[in-house]
Symmetry: C2
Subunit: 98 residues, 2 copies
């Protein structure tokens, strides 16, 4: 099955479900900023996301400084958001709350 | 010994020596963009830098998307550049060329 771009309604539902994520201004992408105890914890989180990302061949755009990580998700192949972004954001939420 | 901010001359010498690094507009910081074969290689590089950073308690600001990593270095404690940035940039250069 070809990867589909989320419809406006699916996008709205996904944002409600994901919480803490918001649309990026001027782009069909979602973002979330996460903070940790220190760099060690932040990079530990990034490593878990990296393993997920490489396994699923769907990678974040992200910025890190010390204990802060800003994650942006979008799907290049659909020029917008897809189920892959929702799944990756869900994974990020899950491990962030652990 | 207290950490010292690099003098203008030391800064210029460091940039000459480091190559491929440049000053960030409007900030006393240096930056370099590095590209890799794929995300796996880029994150492998980031992991080596993270281990160095945590060991030396001197951390980069960095952005990653897929195979590209943009690194910015500065030393908060001196509000500018210090020998710690030169050492971290040198380490990054070394492992990038491996």
């Amino acid at each position: 099955m070809t990867l589909q771009k989320l419809t406006a309604q699916e996008q709205a539902e996904a944002l409600t479900q994901l919480q803490d994520w918001s649309l990026v201004d001027g782009r069909e992408a979602i973002k979330r900023t996460l903070t940790f105890k220190d760099f060690n914890a932040a990079f530990g989180f990034m490593t878990r996301v990296a393993l997920y990302a490489d396994k699923h061949d769907h990678h974040p755009e992200w910025f890190n400084v010390y204990n802060r990580v800003e994650v942006t998700l979008a799907t290049h192949d659909v020029q917008g958001l897809s189920i892959r972004d929702v799944k990756l954001a869900t994974f990020i939420n899950e491990i962030y709350h652990q």
